[in-house]
């Protein structure tokens, strides 16, 4: 397939720039969107993809440059104006209103009216039609959005964009929360829409998805578009190279040999763990110096398992043992203390890991205040010293300890989350997808750190949505499906094929699958 557009471009962006404070998010960006094609946008986090689509969707205004729709210059002062011009966006952070119903949400930008009032019957018909088009007609239009699981909400989001009858559809990581079945449905929908003549802009981190779906690809780096080419004309490693602008090699540190201490009980063990119907009969053991991965599709109970171990969930059945002794942990406050010395790197660093407006210093020492305080009074010198150690150890790049942590890049923010827990010298470290949304360079630093921690005797449970990471980092991987451990992989068994096969619970012909 050739890269040249068959029809005239629907939308053009010329020399568009946008700054946030001193940071250039987008610089002199050019983009051409053609009807009847799926156009993938690739780039590392912070490459300017999000800013690009926010400008296209009217969420933020560009500082410079111009945008042309059908050859005529346009400006969007709000998402409503962009929508009126035929550009609809499925946002990464959900744009649904939790307390309103599905139908209310789908028609929200322009509800059907009769005598000035919202016509609820017409609204319902419109919503049902949009849900059907999105392949999500199992969702009831009257259900409240807040009662739906994340994957259903994402489908509502897509239906909502389709209800606008757009000419250009932007999907920003729209499949990140979807189940495999939904992804297939969405892809079918997108292909059909393309054939109907829609211009589709598709942003994703998942290389396989792009290979499967896109017609054209554009790579962004440091706020500029660096290359546009027909899908399939470049290899994955070439694309990765364009994204990071350097050789992509030697990602993972060598795995160590966990010293199998004979007769010593595992540091952390759980037997027949259960919680509501979301976790069933989970048993696992992590020894000293071991990195155990959690694999599987998203939302199969991995996150809940970590929360259960950390004492966040109530009504957990089964038993947890630390050093072979039963441990009844009923809050993070207990989990972090001796003899457990646990740490949890939570899923969402912005709301669960950090207090964004507070300073780097305050964030770093927040979980270890009892270590730097005597009788509740903070020993500033000791605090300073521990913080300095951590900043050096993790090479946190910050303009100072008294800047708000929000001013740091995503990767450095994640380092702060790690550092605040490492300050307590934890023996058991639970990581919930710690590399999500951070740059390649920082990822590699984290892999090395993980290995180093294991070598010093920590027991690590590492949940990741990135299969490469599990392959590269873990000594063993447990694959979860529907709240159960359905497969345990060790050593050379850990490869992408086995991981995917067991994640989908289809079996790969080599091993039988449970359940």
């Amino acid at each position: 397939m050739s890269a040249a557009g068959i029809s005239a471009p629907l939308f053009r962006m010329e020399g568009v720039s946008r700054r946030y404070g001193g940071v250039r998010a987008l610089e002199n960006a050019h983009l051409e969107v053609v009807p009847g094609r799926i156009h993938a946008i690739l780039g590392e986090n912070g490459a300017g993809k999000s800013t690009l689509i926010k400008i296209m969707a009217g969420v933020v205004a560009p500082d410079e440059g111009r945008m042309l729709l059908d050859g005529r210059e346009v400006t969007f002062r709000s998402p409503a104006e962009a929508a009126a011009a035929g550009i609809a966006c499925v946002f990464q952070e959900l744009s649904l209103i939790p307390d309103l119903s599905v139908a209310d949400n789908i028609v929200i930008s322009n509800p059907p009216r009769r005598f000035g009032m919202i016509d609820r019957r017409a609204q319902r018909a419109l919503a049902q039609e949009a849900l059907l088009r999105a392949g999500a007609d199992d969702i009831h239009p009257r259900a409240a959005v807040k009662d739906l699981p994340l994957s259903r909400r994402q489908m509502v989001e897509i239906a909502k964009a389709l209800a606008l009858k757009p000419r250009a559809l932007i999907l920003d990581e729209a499949t990140s929360a979807l189940t495999a079945g939904d992804v297939a449905k969405v892809f079918a929908v997108l292909r059909r829409l393309r054939d109907e003549g829609l211009a589709i802009l598709y942003i994703s981190h998942r290389m396989q998805e792009i290979a499967e779906l896109a017609d054209t690809c554009t790579v962004f780096r440091n706020g500029r578009n660096v290359a546009t080419f027909a899908a399939g004309s470049r290899s994955n490693s070439e694309i990765v190279e364009m994204m990071i602008g350097r050789e992509y090699s030697h990602v993972f540190p060598p795995k160590g040999k966990p010293a199998a201490a004979p007769g010593k009980p595992p540091v952390l063990e759980c037997r027949n763990l259960g919680w509501t119907d979301r976790l069933r009969d989970v048993s696992l053991a992590v020894g000293e110096g071991e990195v155990v991965g959690l694999g599987g599709l998203e939302g199969q109970g991995q996150r809940l398992l970590l929360l259960a171990l950390f004492g966040v969930l109530r009504g957990v059945t089964g038993s947890v043992l630390v050093d072979g002794r039963p441990a009844a942990i009923s809050s993070p406050a207990e989990a972090r203390e001796r003899p457990f010395s646990m740490a949890l790197i939570p899923e969402d660093r912005k709301t669960e890991g950090l207090m964004l407006p507070m300073t780097v210093r305050e964030n770093l020492s927040f979980a270890a205040l009892d270590h730097v305080a005597r009788g509740g009074i903070i020993d500033r010198r000791k605090e300073e010293q521990l913080i300095d150690d951590m900043v050096r150890l993790l090479e946190i790049k910050t303009a100072g300890l008294d800047v708000p942590v929000a001013a740091l890049s995503g990767g450095n923010q994640q380092k702060v989350v790690l550092a605040k827990w490492l300050m307590r010298r934890p023996r058991i470290i639970l990581l919930n997808d710690p590399t999500r949304g951070i740059d390649v360079g920082t990822k590699q630093e984290l892999y090395r750190l993980l290995r180093r921690l294991a070598e010093t005797g920590a027991a690590i449970i590492f949940y990741s949505t990135d299969y490469d990471e599990l392959v590269g980092c873990c000594d063993r991987v447990l694959v979860l499906y529907d709240g159960r451990v359905i497969r345990e992989l060790a050593g050379d068994e850990i490869n992408e094929r086995a991981l995917i096969a067991s994640a989908l619970n289809v079996g790969d012909g080599q091993a039988e699958t449970a359940a």
Partner: protein
């Protein structure tokens, strides 16, 4: 980390704390105080006299003690609407205790404060453990406290007068010329600054105000911290009430009503975010002085009550518009 940024950090670290953390809102509040004084001095030269200023600080100290407790609660992102009747309860109970002979006179202040602690505990349990919105729990406990006092007094102002110790604390002068009430406020302020900047509790308060979820997952006992904050607020409100009873030499029905809104306004005018997590105690001090001066100037100008209310409200709005605004949407 590069050399330059490290040295920059250490230079910043060597600055005195109040300069390093100087908040534009706090500076504006102090600026407004100076403006008010200048404006007042145009009206009467008395405004810049030491006597007048000390008198104002003395009046401000009652509000100051109450606002200190209010601030801790607001920093958490909550609010304490039980201030009026906690103050009244504290005052009435302290005076009542004084009726029980010499033991009672000694115990007057602790008894008053303990009543505040009790109501604060009720608020704290409701907010932290039952997770009822603070606005509604403190509203309900205010009604309960009022009900208790109405039953106790039979609906009339009690005849017990404030014990001498309480009167001395509010109106006496340990250091000649310097009213004790100001010293009490200074002591409370010093304790508050220490609590908020130097202790693990203070850090936890700011952390919870910013993200209670993150604080909980960091292993901080968030519920205990929230409860303690409400207890603190109750204790300080009651203490403020006791002082006020000493000043007026007896407790009266509804004596705390005039303190709820000013205490919230003082905290917010001092740059503390009503959503929690951000603010410095110095700002609250500035806010308290600002509001007291404003009220004083309006009364010196012999403005009728109606005009005073209108100007009072308008000035608060203007000052908030100057610096209390949320960032724009985009």
């Amino acid at each position: 980390m590069s050399e330059t940024s490290e040295s920059r950090v250490s230079i910043r670290a060597r600055l005195p704390g109040f300069l390093r953390r100087a908040d534009p809102a706090v500076l504006t509040a102090f600026g407004c105080i100076l403006l008010l004084l200048l404006f007042g001095s145009l009206y009467s030269s008395n405004f810049l006299s030491l006597d007048y200023l000390l008198q104002q600080l003395k009046v401000a100290s009652f509000l100051g003690v109450v606002a200190a407790g209010m601030m801790v609660v607001i920093l958490l992102g909550h609010i304490d609407l039980s201030v009026p009747w906690v103050m009244t309860t504290g005052a009435m109970m302290a005076c009542a205790a004084a009726g029980f002979g010499s033991m009672g006179i000694v115990a007057a202040i602790p008894v008053g404060v303990l009543c505040g602690v009790a109501i604060g505990l009720l608020n704290g349990v409701g907010v932290a453990y039952l997770r009822i919105p603070s606005m509604i729990v403190t509203l309900a406990s205010n009604v309960v406290a009022q009900g208790l006092m109405v039953v106790y007094t039979g609906g009339f102002s009690p005849q017990d007068s404030a014990p001498p110790a309480v009167r001395w604390l509010a109106t006496g002068a340990l250091v000649p010329g310097l009213p004790n009430a100001i010293l009490v406020w200074l002591a409370v302020s010093a304790a508050m600054i220490f609590l908020l900047t130097r202790t693990a509790f203070g850090r936890a308060v700011y952390g919870i105000g910013n993200s209670e979820r993150a604080a909980f997952l960091s292993g901080v006992g968030t519920r205990r911290v929230v409860m303690t904050a409400f207890v603190l607020s109750g204790a300080l409100s009651a203490f403020g009430g006791v002082l006020l009873a000493g000043y007026a030499s007896k407790a009266a029905q509804a004596m705390g009503d005039a303190y709820l809104l000013p205490s919230i306004a003082a905290v917010v005018l001092g740059g503390t975010s009503i959503l929690g997590g951000r603010g410095s105690y110095l700002g609250t001090v500035a806010g308290v002085i600002l509001i007291t001066l404003l009220q004083s100037i309006l009364s010196v100008m012999q403005m009728p009550e109606a005009g005073r209310q209108i100007v009072y409200g308008a000035v608060i709005i203007v000052m908030l518009l100057l610096y209390g605004r949320a960032p724009p949407n985009r």
